[in-house]
């Protein structure tokens, strides 16, 4: 039998004297760990990093570069601006629900709670994780698009940034909420994919609204991911100010964020 001896040394007791001076906060420790784990998750990396880039490269070249009845601007630029939202959607509807549901399934959240992590630390860490994922994947998508299709000029940077922030917070919150509501990571993956792909095809990366039937266009205009896309794409490409979609996305962000925060209190 292995014998273990528990000791207390003078060095240990001195650490207690100024615990907060050097010690990273629980939220920071959680975020650091979560980011590290993210880099080891091939499914998430595929969906958040590779899928939007590959899809954008394919569809961006399908319709050429000249505006026409379907596209009010260069179609390649239309899709470059649109696919930024794919990153947001993939993070919120696939990465976070699966990740958080797997934590619930394995009792990781209970362990965090029982170990004295502050009540809001997990919610803050997941928000920061989602924003970091988008902050890495979004510019990476643009960096790949730039030499291939060129980057569309940003007509209204403030509104574009507002759209990106509101859309990111909304979909991260929706993702966290789904992760806390669904019973398992498999269920979260199934529901996430079912929510993501119709939104992706109808509202973001599929055919332009101008070629859709009235019914499908009606549906696509009301999808949250399509609203986020319009809030970003319209002021970016100068085809509108995106105020209506932006207000709708902000409303979604406020409600989803409040519900997600409530559900993730440890």
């Amino acid at each position: 039998m292995r014998t273990t001896v528990l000791e207390t040394t003078a060095e240990e007791t001195t650490t207690e004297e100024s615990p907060r001076r050097r010690h990273p906060s629980a939220t920071r420790r959680l975020l650091t760990t979560e980011l590290r784990l993210l880099t080891r998750d091939s499914l998430t990396l595929t969906f958040v990093l590779a899928f939007p880039i590959i899809s954008m490269l394919i569809i961006g070249g399908v319709f050429g570069t000249e505006p026409d009845d379907a596209f009010p601007v260069n179609p390649s630029h239309w899709y470059v601006a649109s696919y930024f939202t794919v990153v947001i959607g993939a993070t919120g509807l696939i990465m976070l629900p699966v990740h958080i549901a797997s934590y619930r399934e394995r009792g990781v959240l209970r362990r965090f709670a029982a170990s004295g992590f502050p009540r809001w630390s997990f919610a803050l860490a997941e928000l920061a994780l989602g924003l970091t994922a988008i902050a890495v994947a979004g510019p990476l998508l643009l960096a790949v698009a730039a030499p291939v299709y060129g980057l569309p000029e940003v007509h209204d940077p403030i509104r574009v940034v507002a759209g990106i922030v509101a859309g990111s917070v909304a979909f991260i919150s929706i993702g966290v909420l789904l992760g806390t509501l669904l019973p398992s990571s498999r269920a979260a993956q199934a529901v996430g994919l079912m929510l993501f792909f119709p939104s992706f095809l109808l509202g973001v990366g599929g055919p332009p609204p101008a070629v859709m039937s009235d019914a499908m266009r009606e549906v696509s205009e009301r999808l949250p991911l399509a609203l986020a896309t319009d809030a970003i794409r319209e002021p970016w490409l100068g085809i509108g100010n995106g105020t209506g979609p932006l207000l709708a996305v902000i409303a979604i962000a406020v409600v989803a964020c409040a519900l997600a925060a409530r559900r993730t209190v440890l």
């Binding site: 014998t3 273990t4 060095e11 650490t15 615990p19 010690h23 420790r29 209970r110």
Partner: protein, 332 residues
């Protein structure tokens, strides 16, 4: 300069009065009273569904009680959760870690401001060589030892261990027992939830036996055994020569002091009674002059026997009361 708190044995670490919790109309903890004092290792034992896990989850503020007064380290587990939880080291029954998290990363993640000596704990629990191993690749025993490391990392004033050795092989269980014994020896207050009674007898100085959310009895393991499983059993086979006079032998044994009953079980004689019976039967065998039977066996009751007796008695009492109530109902 830091202040080191030396627990006084009389200090109440956990005080529970009238704790009640129900799920969907089913009461799982029923007016429970519980006291744990500083430096004690207290075992909560009972069959599945006894309410043990719910009780310790309420003590940590992970569930709310429907009724009752609960103080842990002088704090309310729900209202003072932010202050209380960092002072408790806990191994929950159904909680894990992310598959890809490595051992060293887990220690860094769970190390709060009070934490010290994570590397040394890993060394002491035989996990230092697994520092770069992912949680998914660890054996059951290694995982439980890691959970112990995490539970102890922040120098907790109370350690709660729920089914710590469940599913472990005998060697891994002994490793974990050794670690808990070391905790006990350093004066750490431990609340051990288990239905492994050998574990309870080995590690706990105070045992609380529960059934259906109620405390049936509590005391030291020896006190529970003494109260609920007093009878020892001495058994040996009769030699062929003695079989013809078996009836006389049984009568003689039955007259020995402390004997409460003598029976035949196939070829064996089975003598039950107080502990005195061990000496009396031994003396009788020596006095009989023949060789001491090679198959002589003495069964001394243990905590398992005590708990089974306790549960049986409670069940009989419950059935009796139900029957009485039914009859009353029928009569009215």
């Amino acid at each position: 300069m830091s202040l080191i708190e030396i627990p006084h044995p009389a200090d109440p670490v956990v005080t529970v009065r009238g704790l009640t919790k129900a799920y969907g109309g089913r009461t799982v903890v029923d007016h429970l009273d519980l006291d744990v004092h500083a430096g004690q290792v207290v075992g909560l034992i009972g069959a599945n569904g006894a309410g043990k896990t719910t009780t310790v989850e309420i003590l940590q503020g992970l569930r709310t009680a429907d009724a009752g007064d609960i103080r842990v380290l002088g704090l309310d587990p729900v209202r003072d959760a932010d202050t209380l939880r960092p002072q408790i080291g806990s191994q929950l029954q159904s909680s894990g870690l992310p598959d890809r998290l490595r051992v060293g990363e887990a220690v860094r993640l769970f190390a709060g401001p009070r934490a010290t000596g994570g590397d040394r704990l890993l060394e002491q629990f035989g996990l230092a060589h697994l520092r770069h191993s992912a949680f998914a690749g660890m054996s059951g025993g290694e995982r439980q030892r890691l959970f112990l490391v995490l539970a102890l990392l922040n120098k907790p004033r109370l350690v709660i261990l729920d089914e710590l050795t469940q599913g472990l092989d005998p060697a891994a269980r002994r490793e974990v027992w050794s670690a808990v014994a070391q905790l006990r020896d350093t004066g750490t207050t431990v609340l051990l939830v288990t239905h492994e009674l050998d574990e309870t007898e080995l590690l706990c100085e105070h045992v609380v036996a529960m059934r259906e959310g109620r405390v049936l009895d509590q005391g030291t393991p020896a006190e529970l055994v003494s109260r609920h499983a007093r009878d020892v059993t001495v058994r040996f086979g009769l030699s062929p020569a003695d079989i013809t006079s078996a009836a006389d032998t049984l009568q003689e044994l039955n007259r020995l002091p402390g004997v409460s009953g003598v029976t035949r079980d196939r070829g064996d004689v089975v003598i039950r009674g107080t502990r005195e019976v061990i000496a009396q039967v031994g003396a009788w065998l020596v006095a009989a002059g023949g060789p001491v039977p090679a198959d002589l066996r003495v069964d001394i009751p243990d905590l398992e026997a005590a708990l089974l007796t306790l549960l049986d008695a409670d069940h009989a009492d419950h059935v009796g009361r139900s029957g009485h109530t039914d009859q009353m109902g029928a009569a009215s």
